[in-house]
Symmetry: C2
Subunit: 365 residues, 2 copies
């Protein structure tokens, strides 16, 4: 790979100045047709491709939007799902491993495309002072970050310089007032799902499995659960019945074991703060010969693809991740085109309860 040709090479080859070469690419109409052709011909011949970097540097804009997300590689989701959650070994399926972040990527890509932007995606990796965000931030016109991917303070700094929209997580009123923010109605969803279990299925002994890590989303879900219980006159403590470390299938499986082995009456329903745990629990339950939903109902949260593939299919709350990605782009684009003033936008996306077999509803899906 010899050294790449530059504007200078093209200029020389076509007998014009570098300014003209530049114009040919940026604003073709400002150059006489004949000149333009000469330049284009030379460019073709030399194999000239404008350097995006040089361009970005000189023009301070890249035409690229970004997305940073945590390195969510849940080994379970990526392997177990592929190993065939449907029972058919040959059904090993990429789709089942579709993650959260993949849906957001899809949404952002589509929306970015509509607006003529490309999308730069990067998952966090541990690294020096040069964190992930910095890498992305330095290469895009604006970007979205999944909550808790990067230190808040870092975002604080960066968002002073370019549009940033925070995805999920709560609005952090403390420092990040100038950040746009999109979240989903976690509490609403979990409340409605819980209400469904209580009122429609007549269940009253419920157990909730949350997370040990600080996660505003997960806390909001628990809050919704509590609200629904109280509204129905069911007593609940201020804490989930169980908190697990990772919200993975493995932990969910363990959680189910723990809950069933507890002294006292067995719960009629196990509510998990996400689908992965619920799926893990399903495995445990099957292994122990506990029937779902007859002996115990199980519910998740998220609406990942896997939730529909397991048997029984998982009743859950679907988060509009794709839509979130789209809205993120819309927000960024609006900021970049100077729309809505300095006031930070904050939106909450509605979720929907998906009733499937694991709570005792029909066999849809």
């Amino acid at each position: 790979m010899s050294t790449a040709p530059t504007v200078y090479d093209v200029a020389e080859q076509s007998g014009v100045s570098i300014a003209t070469v530049s114009r040919v690419y940026r604003n073709p109409d400002s150059v006489r047709a004949q000149t333009r052709e000469r330049v284009l011909a030379a460019a073709r011949e030399l194999g000239y491709v404008p350097s995006g970097n040089a361009r970005g540097l000189a023009s301070r804009s890249t035409g690229v939007l970004g997305l940073c997300f945590p390195d969510y590689s849940d080994p379970d989701a990526e392997s177990e799902a592929e190993a065939g959650a449907t029972g058919g070994g040959d059904e090993a399926d990429d789709d089942a491993a579709m993650l959260y972040s993949d849906q957001i990527i899809r949404g952002m890509e589509r929306a970015a495309r509509r607006h003529g932007y490309a999308l730069l995606i990067a998952a966090s990796l541990k690294g020096g002072p040069e964190s992930l965000v910095a890498k992305v931030a330095g290469r895009v016109d604006g970007f979205a970050v999944l909550a808790r991917t990067v230190p808040t303070e870092e975002l604080e700094v960066i968002s002073r310089r370019q549009p940033v929209v925070m995805l999920a997580g709560p609005r952090e009123t403390d420092h990040l007032d100038h950040l746009d923010h999109i979240e989903v109605a976690n509490a609403d969803g979990q409340r409605e799902l819980t209400r469904h279990l209580i009122e429609d299925h007549g269940l009253r002994r419920l157990a909730y499995v949350g997370s040990a890590e600080e996660s505003p989303d997960v806390e909001a879900r628990f809050r919704g659960y509590v609200e629904a219980c109280r509204a129905a006159g069911i007593e609940v403590g201020p804490e989930p019945d169980l908190r697990v470390g990772m919200m993975t299938q493995a932990e969910g499986a363990r959680a189910a074991d723990a809950l069933l082995d507890r002294a006292g009456e067995r719960p009629e329903a196990l509510l998990f703060a996400n689908d992965q745990m619920a799926v893990g629990a399903l495995h445990t339950l099957e292994r122990r010969g506990v029937r779902v939903p007859d002996d115990v109902a199980v519910t998740g949260f998220d609406g990942i693809a896997l939730s529909r593939l397991v048997r029984p299919a998982l009743t859950t709350v679907r988060q509009p991740m794709r839509r979130m990605g789209e809205e993120a782009v819309e927000l960024l684009v609006r900021r970049l085109t100077g729309a809505h003033g300095g006031d930070p936008v904050s939106m909450m996306l509605p979720v929907s309860v998906v009733r499937r077999g694991s709570c005792g509803c029909g066999v849809a899906g």
Copy 2:
């Protein structure tokens, strides 16, 4: 948004030279700890974020890999699938709309992440002389292109300057000898699927629906079909029984109509060159009261998520799109790290036949 701070600002603020600031970020250990802290502190205070563009320009490398793909927005796939292919209206599902390209993106993202690269994705959009590739090419260290996304000659030019791997499509021996290339075993897959229909289900009156556009992949599939027929002593012409324009659900539906309305005996099996058409056909067949697979078998190709969701589930050939994305990155990374010499690599990924309801096999999935 005031103007962003630069190395100069940080240097001044911390009383060092810009070179030192640069070192702190690129090679922290080459700077005395104390100095480093001062610099980092200043950076934090000023809200300094290194410019990826300036960096790329100066160092001629970006740490980013790219992917260009066609603007495949099949309106059917994106809307009809979401409208609930499963019958449950509430099952509106993002997953069903998972495209081809989304799987490749997933694969590339995972692999890129492992190697410390970010991924830049861009779908083609009509544009001036400044085509899509140029935009991507100018911002990445190397990239993958889905076949037929960009003019061959353009690729020819660019691939002289940076690693490019072509996805799908045949190797173009004419001009693009220095391009790496990954394709899937289209012919093998269609041949095996056809053999299955003939030998295992005893069907002999088959009809093949291909595409009118030039597509080497689609042609290879047809070739596999022909081979299987001939091997079984079934006569077939040199052309598909029908060629449609777009390979969309709508066209597939129309194709089914056309085939059923033809004079002569009704075919026992309808083989489509992709899943989307097959799904469209399923709709038509149901509308007309033709039972699948009892009256006629239907098969697709690709293994998109939707294929498993329709009823009956579609028998198809699964392409390892995700794996393709991963391999693409591996190839690019190897090139970038100077591995395997100038000789272009070409690999063919195996596919697998997925037997489901639409051909008369079990009810898996």
